[in-house]
């Protein structure tokens, strides 16, 4: 076998092995999207009920709670970026990180300092490589977050919010960046302000004019105190679940195009290998024919 042909065959083997891996990853992601979507759906009733409750309390109580009223003179804002732990998901993490950069630039323009809270190894590595300060990092659950994970993140954000912003780790605003799962084909990195609350944000339209005058037990202030941390947790949890679904969808798409590319590559390599084999055969034939000719003319000359 000629050297050329051997090189082509070796490359084809390696591409085939890669294709097997990407195909497997595509199938795994495809099956996980469905599960992740179901978890998003399962968490919606709780999120919707909480949103209703928060809008009702915020509308019908005159209490000035720090979580609902914007700070007069904000000095520092927190950004929570939700990215992936693993790569192989196309531009999924990059989009979230870029959206974070955009928001950070916007906040700096407003004269705010930015502290970063990061979820997912990809974002952590990006910031670590650039030697940037990180206020909090969490890794290891990006593709299957639990409520406890969301709680952990929410606790640390809330404690930063509740401490004074004049010291180094207090914040006055909290923003979140996650990847919205719009459909199997569209996922979009989105930035949202969490605190101070933008209460008008839910998939179900908040019924206007129908919100009743509530009695609060024990009182409106206490209720808000108890309600808002849960609300933040639920928001973060929902964002994490949506991001997880988006991650799987992005990975499936990236792996699908990788598999397609591998197929194309194998096809063109097969063509090249066939041409090389044919060239080899042609050369051998012409060598034999040439050799026979030479022998014939040599023996003809000797007679």
């Amino acid at each position: 076998m000629g050297a050329q042909l051997r090189v082509y065959r070796r490359r084809m083997r390696s591409v085939k092995a890669t294709k097997k891996i990407t195909k497997a990853m595509e199938l795994i992601s495809a099956s996980r999207i469905v599960k992740a979507q179901q978890r998003v759906t399962a968490s919606t009733p709780y999120a919707n009920e909480l949103t209703r409750a928060v809008s009702a309390v915020a509308t019908y109580s005159s209490t000035n709670h720090p979580l609902t009223t914007p700070h007069e003179n904000p000095r520092r804002a927190a950004i929570l970026i939700i990215s992936a732990d693993r790569g192989m998901a196309g531009a999924y993490s990059t989009n979230a990180i870029k959206e974070g950069e955009r928001l950070a630039a916007l906040l700096r323009e407003r004269g705010l300092q930015v502290s970063n809270f990061l979820v997912g190894r990809k974002a952590v590595n990006y910031y670590k490589f650039r030697n940037r300060e990180m206020a909090g990092t969490w890794t290891g659950f990006s593709d299957n977050p639990t409520y406890e994970n969301a709680k952990e993140v929410a606790d640390s954000l809330l404690s930063a919010f509740l401490s004074d912003s004049t010291d180094s780790n207090g914040v006055d605003e909290i923003h979140i960046i996650f990847t919205q799962f719009k459909s199997m084909l569209t996922q979009e990195a989105t930035a949202k302000r969490m605190i101070p609350l933008e209460v008008v944000e839910s998939s179900a339209p908040v019924p206007t004019g129908l919100l009743p005058m509530y009695e609060f037990e024990p009182n409106a202030g206490e209720v808000l105190n108890a309600l808002l941390p849960r609300y933040i947790e639920a928001r973060i949890f929902n964002a994490m679940l949506q991001s997880a679904a988006s991650e799987h969808a992005a990975r499936r798409r990236a792996m699908k195009s990788a598999t397609d590319n591998a197929e194309d590559l194998i096809k063109s390599l097969t063509r090249l290998a066939n041409a090389a084999r044919q060239a080899e055969i042609t050369q051998e034939i012409s060598e034999i024919v040439g050799g026979a000719d030479a022998l014939a003319s040599a023996s003809a000359g000797s007679e």
Partner: protein, 83 residues
């Protein structure tokens, strides 16, 4: 008239349906809700929530903290975890 009850946790909707009576424990003490109750928002403590369905059966749940909101005969109980 019946109450439209939903008991939800962050990960799932635990129970939903029609009920004639709901009782839960708030920070102020035990609380019962019958159809026609005034709009109310309460903070729950750890304890039992019982829902008496319109078919006469009673469901008992143990909740860990949470909220109870009542408006227009719609009762939603939000809790972090149901035991």
């Amino acid at each position: 008239m019946a109450l439209n009850v939903a008991l939800v946790s962050p990960t799932q909707q635990v129970w939903s349906g029609e009920a004639s009576f709901v009782s839960a424990r708030t920070t102020e003490g035990d609380l019962g809700v019958l159809p026609g109750h005034a709009p109310l928002f309460g903070v729950l403590v750890d304890g039992a929530v019982s829902i008496k369905g319109t078919d006469g059966t009673t469901q008992e749940f143990t909740v860990r903290g949470g909220f109870l909101s009542v408006s227009n005969d719609r009762v939603s109980i939000l809790t972090e975890s149901v035991g």
